[in-house]
């Protein structure tokens, strides 16, 4: 096989298939983890009937959603109605093409030369991610509007307003990281945190940036305490009220995929990505560290859902604009000043 075909077609295709498979599996079992962990925190066992200890529950859920009747409401805009779930799922999955899960590895000697376990390492990865994930907002708006339903429309518009508002402080929190890493590429950001175990991770100088980033991340994924757009007790189910079957499954999976994206980015930008917290450790593969950290973040998402009440919509917007945005701007200033002082100290 010619070298070019192998390098530019076969290997990326294999990587895409593997990454998509792993991500979708993670998403499916994130739903299971949510139900189990939520149950455990609520003094009950979660699902434990399907399969051993309930571990086949996502399979059962998937099969159920596949065979459900596909209802399109009367008066709904058919094409847009079918397009909306795709518009929200595709960007979420697309982001995974640039997220580095581990350093280039040769799979313990299986492969002749090391390959990078990510599809691409572009030098504007952060910009790419911020841009692509914003396309997901279209899916929300169009989904709410095309349902021909007052509740859905209200839910869709609220959700869109929320998503757009929280992207701004999130962007500024990311800028703080960029100042420290001096590069937009995610692999460079991880490498910039290599040093002395966890002490050189960006979490320490960037604790405020991390706080802002994670709160905005929770708001971006419409999760508790910012889940008013899909609050059951107020708008039934918000913008995805009228969806059933696989289209609803796509909305549902898109939410968990977005959660995984936010968690992965938080891990890469603040917690060292695939670096080990123990200084000088080379034994445990980077992928395992990455997975463990992302799992902890997903657990934090579920923990928030179990504990907090939800913000009312105007309070939600107030938190975003009046509190997080000024803080994130101030944070950029502080980090910038800190870097200036620190680097001058090192030089002089």
């Amino acid at each position: 096989m010619p070298e070019a075909l192998l390098q530019f077609l076969v290997i990326p295709l294999v990587k895409i298939v593997v990454i998509l498979g792993v991500v979708l599996l993670v998403v499916a079992y994130a739903t299971f983890a949510e139900r189990k962990i939520l149950g455990y925190m609520q003094v009950r066992l979660g699902p434990n009937r399907v399969g051993p200890k309930g571990w086949l529950q996502p399979v059962a859920d998937g099969m159920k959603l596949l065979v459900k009747e596909d209802l399109v409401p009367d008066g709904a805009e058919r094409l847009v109605f079918m397009l909306a779930p795709c518009l929200i799922m595709a960007p979420a999955l697309l982001v995974f093409s640039v997220i580095p899960f581990a350093p280039p590895t040769d799979l313990f000697g299986l492969l002749p030369e090391p390959i990078a376990p990510y599809v691409a390492d572009i030098n504007i990865a952060i910009l790419f991610i911020l841009g692509i994930s914003s396309v997901g907002v279209y899916g929300v708006i169009l989904g709410g509007w095309s349902s021909n339903n007052k509740f859905s429309l209200m839910g869709g518009l609220r959700s869109a307003a929320q998503l757009i508002s929280y992207e701004v402080p999130m962007g500024f929190a990311v800028v703080a990281v960029l100042l420290m890493a001096r590069s937009l590429s995610l692999v460079d950001i991880v490498e910039a945190q290599r040093g002395f175990g966890f002490l050189t991770w960006f979490i320490f100088p960037g604790i405020l940036a991390f706080g802002i980033y994670f709160i905005c991340g929770v708001a971006e994924t419409n999760r508790n305490p910012f889940d008013l757009p899909e609050a059951e007790s107020e708008l039934v189910a918000g913008f995805h009220t009228e969806y059933s079957g696989m289209k609803f499954a796509l909305f549902f999976m898109a939410e968990y995929t977005n959660m995984t994206v936010v968690s992965s980015l938080a891990v890469i930008m603040f917690f060292g990505g695939w670096l080990s917290p123990i200084p000088g450790d080379d034994v445990v593969p980077g992928f395992l560290w990455f997975s463990a950290k992302v799992a902890l973040f997903l657990f934090a998402y579920i923990w928030f859902r179990a504990t907090f009440p939800r913000y009312r919509f105007d309070q939600l917007m107030q938190v975003g604009w009046k509190w997080l945005l000024p803080l994130s701007l101030a944070n950029v200033l502080v980090i910038g000043l800190g870097i200036l002082v620190f680097r001058n100290l090192l030089k002089g």
């Binding site: 939520l38 609520q42 209200m154 305490p225 107020e234 504990t307 907090f308 009440p309 919509f313």
Partner: protein, 373 residues
């Protein structure tokens, strides 16, 4: 400018029917909302979806048979419904119940107050978004329902009181189990408070939401925690004591602002005071008979009477008219606290957002069973 040209700032009203099937309306309550975007311009509660003709049913059966039907009005707090009926009947007949029966009734009523407030806390929290207090409170409520089951055989529709006293003697060991529960319960209240009372999100959702001034509360006839949350110290157990409440030492918590947060604090404190009452009743429980002498076939003679008890939701009153030879009530009208409290709903939500509607319905603590009867 022409009058018919719509201006950019014209209010476009949207009419939304909130309910009757809705997860947050605590039953089959329908609220017709007039909305401007998300702001509520007007709200009209429409009731009657659970009307079962209870008051007419009362007229068709003898007095003792009316009791199981009273259970089903406020189905969350059946013991106080029973208590209201028997207290009114005893006032009509002029019967004084033995002290042991009075103390057992107080125990059952205060346990029921705890159970009802636990349901209130669970549903109010879950409406505002915190889903875990539901499970913790229902675990405690299950312990209370176990105590009820041991006493009278049912968990929800208790039928645990009779005209003239109580039907059963306390089972063996019931007082010990009740005391163990009452001693253990305050730490669970601490748990719920840890989750909610100082939580900034909870405070933002409940402070200054649904504010009722004291004058308005009295004018609208509100009773129970909506009244006490506005600062009016009025509790039927203190002002018109029945069933030996005047022998027990307890306090009436009141709020200051009259908002949802104050009503939340009032109910939490009421739970603590109920525990105090239970502990005192268990210590002072006298011996003796549990049923006064009452004829098998009750004829009340000509007369009418109104008496009320302090149900967990407010003042629950019964107005009973009896005729000379009649074994049945000629007319029995129930004054449900939720019916009067829900009339304040439009005033409380006018100008606020839809999310506040849910919080206000939760804080008024309405049960459609007793609104519609």
């Amino acid at each position: 400018m022409n009058d018919s040209t719509p201006s950019l700032f014209d209010v476009e009203e949207m009419e939304l029917s909130f309910g009757p099937q809705h997860p947050a309306t605590h039953g089959v309550l329908r609220v017709m909302l007039k909305l401007d975007g998300e702001k509520i311009l007007d709200a009209k509660p429409i009731i009657g979806y659970l009307h079962r003709g209870t008051e007419k049913l009362f007229e068709t059966m003898p007095f003792p048979q009316c009791l199981p039907h009273t259970d089903r009005m406020d189905y969350v707090a059946a013991a106080t419904n029973n208590q209201g009926f028997v207290v009114t009947m005893e006032k009509l007949l002029g019967i004084t119940i033995p002290p042991r029966a009075a103390y057992i009734r107080m125990l059952l009523a205060e346990l029921q107050r705890l159970a009802s407030h636990l349901v209130w806390l669970a549903t109010h929290a879950i409406d505002i978004g915190a889903m875990t207090p539901f499970f913790y409170t229902f675990r405690e409520r299950d312990a209370i329902l176990d105590l009820f089951e041991e006493y009278c055989g049912a968990r929800l529709t208790l039928n645990c009181m009779r005209i003239g006293g109580v039907p059963h003697e306390l089972p063996d060991g019931w007082t010990d189990r009740c005391a163990a529960f009452a001693n253990d319960f305050p730490r669970h209240i601490e748990e719920y408070e840890d989750l909610l009372t100082n939580n900034r999100i909870w405070k933002r959702r409940t402070v200054d939401v649904g504010v009722i001034s004291a004058e308005d509360a009295i004018e609208w006839g509100l009773t129970g925690p909506p009244l006490r949350g506005s600062g009016v110290k009025w509790d039927i157990r203190k002002v018109f004591p029945y069933d030996r409440y005047d022998e027990i030492d307890f306090e009436i918590p009141i709020g200051s602002n009259g908002d949802t947060y104050d009503r939340y604090l009032v109910r939490i404190e009421e739970m603590r005071q109920s525990v105090r009452i239970i502990q005192q009743c268990l210590i002072r429980l006298p011996g003796g008979p549990i049923m006064a002498k009452a004829p098998k076939v009750l004829r009340a003679g000509q007369g009418m009477v109104y008496a009320s008890v302090e149900a967990p939701k407010g003042e629950l009153g019964y107005f009973i008219v009896a005729t000379d030879k009649g074994t049945n009530p000629y007319r029995c009208h129930v004054r449900p606290p939720s019916f009067i409290n829900v009339q304040a709903l439009p005033e409380l939500v006018r100008g606020r957002l839809v999310a506040d509607l849910v919080a206000v319905i939760g804080t008024l603590d309405i049960v459609l069973g007793e609104i519609d009867r």
